[in-house]
């Protein structure tokens, strides 16, 4: 059964404690990142910090379940943003996604002590250019609210599943245990949920 929701509601199921109270999306920080890159602008950096530090801390707290670690990793994330600001390319996606990937990579590197192989976006061996379509345009033109609106159009249980995928440290097996489902079912539901999100982004064009 799919429940359409018009506003963020607290989850009914106690196992879905990742559902949060309504919280306003953060403001777009692309200008601040460019200012940091161009002129080491401390005021811009403070604005970004005030806007994002509490959210990155919340994200890292979910992943580590350790307040001190969340604070330390958040500080490392902010230092990395300061140093890597020159690498931020607005054409490759919204500032929020860039900030998210930095926090995620710090978590993998410093907390899990693992490597995360990734492409080199400037690699001459890179193949193929994406066809410009709605999902791509939304990501590229930094339509800051589009993802929030698309997520709101998904059934609650699909949003919960995507949320668990991002915030649960131990991935599908833990999710399967939490929901009392076989792991194959969890995987196919995640496929459905993410497929639905992409279709929704296309439809919103």
């Amino acid at each position: 059964m799919h429940r359409r929701k018009s506003a963020r509601l607290p989850a009914k199921d106690a196992s879905m404690s990742d559902s949060e109270k309504p919280s306003l999306p953060a403001a777009d920080m692309s200008e601040q990142i460019v200012a940091i890159a161009m002129s080491a602008d401390m005021a811009a950096f403070e604005t970004l910090f005030k806007e994002y530090a509490p959210r990155i801390r919340a994200y890292l707290l979910k992943l580590t379940r350790n307040g001190q670690a969340a604070e330390d990793l958040m500080q490392e994330t902010m230092l990395a943003i300061w140093h890597k600001a020159g690498q931020y390319d607005p054409a490759r996606g919204p500032a929020s996604a860039w900030i998210f990937t930095i926090a995620r990579n710090i978590w993998i590197d410093a907390w899990r002590k693992q490597k995360r192989p990734a492409i080199d976006p400037d690699d001459p061996a890179l193949r193929g250019e994406p066809e410009p379509d709605a999902a791509n345009l939304i990501v590229q033109k930094q339509d800051h609210d589009a993802l929030h609106r698309a997520l709101q159009r998904l059934p609650q249980e699909q949003v919960d599943l995507i949320r668990l995928s991002f915030f649960d440290e131990a991935s599908h097996s833990t999710i399967a245990k939490k929901l009392g489902l076989p792991i194959g079912t969890v995987k196919s539901r995640i496929r459905l949920a993410f497929g639905r999100l992409r279709t929704t982004l296309e439809e919103m064009k």
Binding site: E20, K21, S23, P25, A37, A40, K50, A53, P54, I56, R57, A58, A70, M74, Q75, H83, K84, A85, G86, Q87, G93, P94, S96, A97, I99, T101, A103, R104, Q114, K115, R116, P117, A118, I119, D123, P124, A125, L126, R127, G128, P130, N136, I138, L147, A150, L151, I162, R163, S165, F166, F167, A170, H172, K187, I190, R191, F194, L197, R198, L201
Partner: protein, 217 residues
Amino acid sequence: MNVRHHLREDLIVDYAAGHLSEGWSLAVAAHLAMCAECRKAVAVAEAAGAALVEELTPVAGPEDSWEQLKARLSAEPAPAKAAPVAPPARKPELPEPLRSYLGGDLSDLKWTNLGVAQQILIKTGDKETQARLLKIPAGKPVPEHTHGGRELTLVLKGSFHDEVDSFGPGDIEDADGDLVHQPIAGKDEDCICLAITDAPLKFSSRLLRLVQPLFGI
């Protein structure tokens, strides 16, 4: 030469969330280098992750959190401007991150003979998986190396096919343990692919456990 076999969404979401271990991530990243469509899908997943982070209830930290960060910054140099990178002399055949893992491009590799096929074991810090490069001579069958777990096979050069499907450069096959098939390399050229399997922990026979390290299977 379009990619026809893409990453499944659960891999895309897991990679974007940072939950995939190093070996699986290597196959995902190598496919991404060859497939613009999946690069886009990962970008969407990362933007969705970012949106969900923004919707989290903010958590207040220590009162002096900003002051602490500022103190650390004053001890550090200003952010470095991105330096222009010289383009390489010729276009490499293998994409990053594979070149770094292998220590070179296709022409630099030292293969180990396995009989009908050749392989190179790829070292990762990941105990969960085994990564290798396989070279299967044109028209020959891919050696049997399934063992009941998940297996990702990415074609880098050439092709292979079985009764139902064919896989060319950039195509990734995502096989569960229950898939039984005997793929054959395309007849026009050798097939080079990256294969990631669950680490071989599942053999129950003592004899197999003994010979396993010898063959590196």
